[in-house]
Amino acid sequence: MEVVDLDFRYENGYKVFQDINLKAEKGKFVAIVGPSGVGKSTLLRLLGAFLKPEKGQVLLHGKPVLRPTPLISMVHQSIVTFPWMTAEENVALSVKTRNLPKDRVKEISSHALEMVGLQGFNDLYPKEMSGGMRQRVAVARSLAAEPKILLMDEPFAHLDELTAEGLRQDIYNILFNEDSPLETVIMVSHNLTEVIELSDTVFILNGSPATIVAKVDIDIPRPRSPRDPAFDQMLDRLYSYLTKKEVKKQ
């Protein structure tokens, strides 16, 4: 997936982006970081074609993405579930778009719940689940659509640290297991530790209107530990990009 020379402004005239260029390669976990309010959520909405750019293009396999598609699936910054559906029905909602027979839908939804560690909780309503469980349901719903690109907006932000850590450890393996058609994950976060723990590539968004001020590849071997000195070094480096006003591209 690729973004070319993208400009965007909101209807009230506020210019959020100027000249955004980024490339998210196949098999990579990509993170977008930036200070609060810089436009990270907006950028994800542009990638998913929920918003239309003023200028420039979003390309998937070289073809422009013009409207939202199940191939590019979004996990929202707020945890979104449908309170009138059980966990399984919530997930099935995105399987149904593929027009499969009923038992196949059930099978896929159950499997998706299993992948996020919710086996046996199929019949619970969101109200009966904790925040972490609900977020897993939301992730399972996105995965069950079998997207090529997964967009995640602060997926761990509303979870307590313990739950977040657990989900973080699972998520990389869930995402890139061999029988998933998923090609690329693009995650927005302002938690740098989380970003270094998970990503292969980090884009740093800063300024107003915002641009990509740096691209950093992280090649620390997995599993990564915050106690590793290389981890710390990386943390300092990312931190400096976020605090400096103007940074040369790497």
Binding site: R45, R67, T69, P70, S78, P83, R134
Partner: protein, 558 residues
Amino acid sequence: MIPGAGVLLATSSPGTINGIPFLTITLAVLATSIRVLALILLSIISGWLLAYGAIKSKIFENVFISLIEIFESVPVITFFPVVLIIFVNRIGGELGVELAADFLVFTAVVWNIWMGEYQAFKTVPNEMVEVANNYDYGFLDRMSMIYIPFSIPRIAANLFPSVSDGFFYITVSEVFSIGLTTYATFGIGTEISALLAESNYYGILTAFIIMGLVIVVIILGLRSFSERAVARYTVDTDMPIMRRGKPRIRQTARLSAVASLNTLGKLAKYNRERRPQKDPEELFSTNPRNGKGNIIIGIIALAILVYIVYSAVELIMSVSASEWGYLFSKTPYLLYGLLLDYIRVLSITAVSLVLALTLGYYFATRRRVEKFGIPIIQTISAYPVPAYFPFIFLGIYPFVDSIFGPYTEESLVLLLGFLATFYYVFYGFWMGVKAMPAEYNEIMRNLDMGFFRKMRYVILPSTFPYLIAGITSTVNSAWGGLEIGEYWPNIAGGKTLQVHAGLMKTIDLATSSGNIALAAWGSFLFAMIVAVYSIIFTRKMMDLAKKKYVAEEGIYSV
């Protein structure tokens, strides 16, 4: 001839040009508008006092809320034959007629407003009440600094349906016949009937235009008022607000329920998660001022109750045995009429619902259509159907007759009912769609869902509480429409609109032939059955809606 285009003709009454009494029409429109607006104001002010009484005294609260619930679920218009007679006979004269008209409009507008104010008072944040207790505020300070400002957004949300309801009944309330006598009070309803009797069609057209202008002005005024009210009086915080316990009732059925679930955006946050709280005012029940207030209000409530029971008993005692025999013998026929009326109401509701779903969805998803469409629909809905229906009747009668033959009048009555009610379910649904979390919209787009799938899995469930509220209002207004339409003598062109059978028709006929006992008995049967039905059905649905279908709970965040 176009008014004001050419020659000025001098006629008998001042302000008359080309036979069109401009001055009279304008004054009549103003009289009617002032009547409606003044009664709304009266509802608001009385509602503040009653709501304050309700939060101060448990006994009063129980009586007050039970009465509102009953009156809200019964289309009060059906009592009017009887109530009007009381006003005209007991008070009599111009004053009696005027009061009868006022009473009718008042009962059309008041319930929404009272309920909204009660709910607002009941949900004033704990912290604010604590401040009031802390500084030992008196009644006036509490009202002016806390309760009244807090109730303003809720009142604003209830004003539109109330204005529509108020205007709806003007033609029937300003002019009505009992037996052979026709009573009239000054207003546009009376004026239109007079012009109609003279076949002064340009005059009527003028009346419609002037009334349309005034309604547009009122609607625009209300819109800007409610926008400002929400911006100014809505407490601006994302902190969860502690509340003074649940309102005693589950959820009122009418549009006030829509307002209380989530209207005008920001109101939403008051309705998240309500935990039963210890009532801070109760902590101070040793406070002598509160104690005395409680007792006085309790005594007043009790007195009202005793009076109501006494009048009812007196009325029943005054009916002779032979009359009871007659009434009982008529009962099966009345019930048959009620059954027919239920079928009519259901058909009207079903059609309104289908149209509301498609049109409401179309509006809510197209910003530009919505921007112009909603004010237009609000204006049209405030425009009283009974005022213009005779012209629709005249215009389409031959056409409808050629299609429906013997069912012509039946279908015209259904059309009248539809015009009177469609707005409520439409507006309810539209608000529901607007209140749906933006994320739901994105998920529907993301999953590339088709219209029916969206409706079934996301839109209908998320708008369910709003739909129920809208449908309940629709059902109630449909009864009002039938009351007017099932027997409408001399509607236009010398014709009388009437259905073959129906309870509303029987009541109307009994009233106009002076058979008050039968009219009262019919109203009573109707009230009992409809009240029981709507209390049971509506409550079930509202409970279900609140338990399961609150879309706001689907978002876990900020």
